[in-house]
Symmetry: C2
Subunit: 158 residues, 2 copies
């Protein structure tokens, strides 16, 4: 099932999966997580490899293996996760030329560039202010009032 995404949703997807993992103990296989991300196991491993390298996750092979959370949710921010993903491009727009000789273009680049940089910096700052624990807490607030606790299985048609 090919489904081209206009905007990169890896951060969104990985956060989703991390919160789900926190709700249930034990290792989670790539296959299980793939269902929650509507993708396949290889893509999951690809995306989560960076988180493992940065020590936010652990993975284990063989029987009973899978992915385990290895970080403190209250000390891990969205920015940490963003960086572990390899700092994907934030803006879809940019300057035509990085170091133009043309003075006109230098003026354009200066104006646009500073605006772009400010927007990026602002987003990263906000990311740095939100921890995974914050997200999880928000989730639990939303869950208050609901009867059946959502799991990877019943919410994502596994």
């Amino acid at each position: 099932m090919y489904c081209y995404m206009k905007r990169d949703s890896r951060l969104s997807g990985v956060l989703h999966v991390l919160l789900h993992m926190a709700e249930q103990p034990g290792p989670h296989t790539s296959e299980t997580l793939a269902l929650a991300m509507n993708t396949n196991p290889v893509v999951v491993r690809r995306i989560m490899a960076g988180l493992r390298e940065q020590g936010f996750l652990r993975s284990q092979k063989g029987h009973g293996g899978g992915w385990t959370i290895a970080c403190d949710f209250s000390r891990t921010t969205l920015r940490d996760i963003y960086e572990a993903l390899g700092e994907p491009e934030i803006l879809a727009m940019g300057n035509r030329t990085e170091t133009p000789g043309c003075l006109v273009e230098q003026a354009v680049n200066a104006a646009l560039g500073s605006a772009f940089d400010a927007a990026e910096a602002m987003l990263l700052t906000r990311f740095g202010e939100v921890t995974l624990a914050d997200l999880s807490a928000d989730f639990h607030v939303r869950m208050a009032g609901h009867t059946t606790p959502p799991t990877l299985e019943n919410e994502h048609g596994a």
Copy 2:
């Protein structure tokens, strides 16, 4: 010469061209402008069509035809131009699902979405604060000290 750009540089390119046009009177052909944008005439027309529809530019066919500025630089902001381009996507990232049933994903979307919206809003605000006249003025400041005034021809290898 195929040259795929990772980030959309139409705004950057169009601003560049507009400032150049302001430096020299008379209509400018798509072909001339294409040289400054390192592309070809059809692409130029495509990009500038929106600016014509919004009344920022006029175009004329036939002998002596071409593109003419039809707006007041001191009253036209980068945001106006951005909108005339069709409001291209600003962010390269986004939420995986817009209206998820999963409460976990709702929590993720809320956090990420508000950050995304804030960044976009900030960029648009900054765009709205800069006029084409500001850019042009900055260009003229940069030009002080340089001997040969840059034209479409001598700066872009026409």
